[in-house]
Amino acid sequence: MPVKLDVSSPEYRQWSADHKSEGNSIPKLFVVRADGETLYGKSGSLSGDALPSMLASALRHSGKILTPRDATTLTDAIAKFKELKESGDIPRAVKALNRVSKIGLPGKIESYAASASEVNTLANELVATVTDSLTELDKNLDGATGEDGIQIRVTTMMKFLQLQNDYGGLRQVKPKLSVFQKALSKKNNSKLFREAKTVFAAKQAKTKSAKTKAIEKLNALIESTENEAIKSLAVEVLSLLGTAN
């Protein structure tokens, strides 16, 4: 993106304040990355191989250059993501962000274009949300002892399943979710986790046929479970499904 600057213009005063350079003579050459970082700023022209060499080096540190199509894909994904997140549909918002994966992994797109940086920020915020939530759930599990222990474990499992449902589409968090799930369902918790999954899946039923199947499964679970916390949760979801029908 070549541009010439007049050193006596007000815009150059701002430019030289934003981009530090060596030397006071003119001409001055600058290479500024798309995010505003100064890659090169020096007085004096470059001769021989020095100019192509400096430019090649600057380009190596400039990140991926987007095609207009890439740029549109990114801005569209950001708009869709924000719209869906605002409406509370996190799984679809995550899917919208994943649409840019041909350009790069959201959160790790190696471009300094504004849209790429925004996608990275949004994805990294989602990763931080999941990480914080898992830390919180882990603390809850540590306190799951005594009389309320099972109730706390069931509540934690339901919260985890919601987290997995919402953010599971994000590639960077899959390993963390997987590790937590293993810890959550190990040893004598495996049956409890299976039952919690049945209740959670029933809660997600949207269509009439899915609700019918969910009701059948919940009724079977209420009959078979020995766990009061699961039973009362299943009854609660069953009543919601009945109301919805």
């Binding site: 001409p27 207009p68 740029a71």
Partner: protein, 63 residues
């Protein structure tokens, strides 16, 4: 050294950027070439932010 006498250098820069193989296509490309003959810093900044291309600026005295 005056800006107008740097035309050859700027032309060389444009060729190098284009030859890099990472150049954005059509719209962005034609817009960036226009900036060679203008002093549109704001346009250059906008295109740079949109495409991820760096800005190559040469500062001198206008005659």
């Amino acid at each position: 050294m005056h800006l107008l006498s740097r035309t050859a250098l700027l032309a060389c820069v444009v060729m190098l950027f284009a030859a890099n193989g990472q150049a954005a296509l059509s719209q962005t490309e034609s817009s960036s070439k226009k900036t060679v003959a203008t002093n549109s810093l704001e346009a250059a900044k906008e295109l740079s932010a949109a495409s991820g291309r760096p800005i190559f600026a040469i500062a001198g005295r206008s005659t």
